[in-house]
Assembly symmetry: C2
Homo-oligomer: 275 residues x 2
């Protein structure tokens, strides 16, 4: 345990994805502070809640600083146990649910089941999109591009695969990706497999040093990872984007989440319905 | 626009992932209500905030019901614009940040940048894990199983691939998957490629009707999708799990998020550090 970091706990009786997502956004507001985070999902019994309290209290005693607890627990008995810990306990549901109940003139469902209920058609759409992304990764199965919602293009290691997978998993969007190779750069034409789908193309690019670093990790001291080669490829691909009016973004300082959100916005893509 | 559904807006000046994740968890508390959701990321200027207000107000006028707005906006000027809309505006940051500021004795950073700042080592870990999952999907490249954090096993279409990808993308965990085929079921032994890694195996299974439905969509009227074949495979694979003491879960009523969270918990896996 780092003694100068503030200890932060993300708790839930479910997957704790909500507590963690909200919590990380909140902590990002304090870039000058150092945090050490602990995620504990499935805190779904008084015994487990008491065990977590012991962890939190030990943390307080060892560090001498009040731990921060972000707890998205729908079960009131469980949150009440957590509230007895020596910590700043943040309970967003406790703050928000009463207002929603009033607006909806309804009682909320107990106990809390957020990520547990599965909408089967939502699941199917995601699985279809994942199948599609897997089959159409890295220039695979190019004959099916007419089914793609979007085709990401870019040089090797510019972030195409993670973006396609995230678009599929999170949003049910069918995203293919096609790697622009040196051969493709020798001509002014768009590569043959993607030329008919120009309106669905979206380019990724990245900073030179970042590309060098990423490639160097894969193939140290190779021509592939050399500064000259990376510079040549990035220039060529950005020229290609401009010549053919393919919209593109520089992904260097972006998370996979942000790249995906921008792709959706810039292309007006329809994502699966959440409800 | 469905007239009997309550309209819900998820807004942010960033990706809106936090607003959406929190919002969907909140709505899940009201299973008897019908909602129609709208996600608007990158509301990062007064012009865009005013345009969103127009949408919200139009919604109110058309439906006659107060829309619900979940808005994770760190910029106070922008949230103040949104608060003028005709809606129940929920502003979790406005409620929580002052308490965190007090606990940390700090001012939070303006404007809000949550998903924008990228921790490069975090990014690298995720990319490594994604590369690993792609190479080791569906029994690919079995000689590298010693690098796997976990190896998911199960019959075709039991949810192995999406779970591996989610574990990689979200948690930076190296997850391989190996499909149990009819050949593997003919013997009492574990399949040769996975036998040396018994402690890293984790089984997936699913309900019969669900497997039939999923397979039927892929290969209609096939032996592969027949009730008899699916029943045989599920029985054989569950027997295999029990004979070899491989822990397993039934994924039928679980989201990819929940399957992944359970795999992490049941196997004590270490995920990438968030901070």
């Amino acid at each position: 345990m780092q003694s100068n970091s503030r200890q932060v706990f993300f708790l839930s009786n479910g997957t704790a994805i909500t507590a963690e997502t909200l919590g990380m956004s909140l902590l990002a507001q304090f870039p000058d502070h150092s945090f050490q985070t602990h995620t504990t999902p499935f805190v779904d019994s008084p015994e487990k809640a008491n065990a977590v309290n012991d962890d939190i209290n030990r943390c307080f005693e060892e560090s001498g600083q009040l731990p921060i607890v972000i707890c998205t627990m729908g079960d009131e008995d469980l949150i009440n146990i957590i509230k007895h810990s020596k910590a700043l306990v943040i309970d967003p549901f406790g703050d928000i649910l009463p207002r929603l109940e009033k607006a909806l003139a309804a009682q909320h469902h107990q106990p809390f089941e957020s990520h547990r209920t599965v909408n089967p058609s939502l699941y199917e759409s995601r699985i279809d999109a994942i199948d599609y992304a897997m089959l159409h990764d890295d220039g695979g199965k190019m004959q099916n591009y007419d089914e793609a919602d979007i085709i990401l293009v870019g040089v090797s290691r510019s972030g195409k695969t993670p973006s396609c997978l995230y678009l599929a998993l999170q949003f049910g969007i069918k995203a293919a990706n096609y790697p622009i190779t040196e051969e493709d750069m020798e001509t002014d034409q768009l590569p043959e497999p993607i030329a008919p789908f120009k309106k669905r193309l979206y380019g990724l690019t990245t900073d030179l040093q970042r590309l060098v670093n990423i490639r160097e990790e894969r193939r140290p001291n190779s021509r592939y990872a050399s500064t000259n080669q990376c510079r040549f490829e990035l220039r060529a691909v950005e020229e290609m984007y401009m010549r053919h009016r393919i919209p593109y973004i520089n992904t260097s300082r972006m998370s996979v989440e942000e790249i995906s959100a921008r792709i959706i916005r810039d292309n007006g893509l329809h994502r699966i319905e959440l409800t």
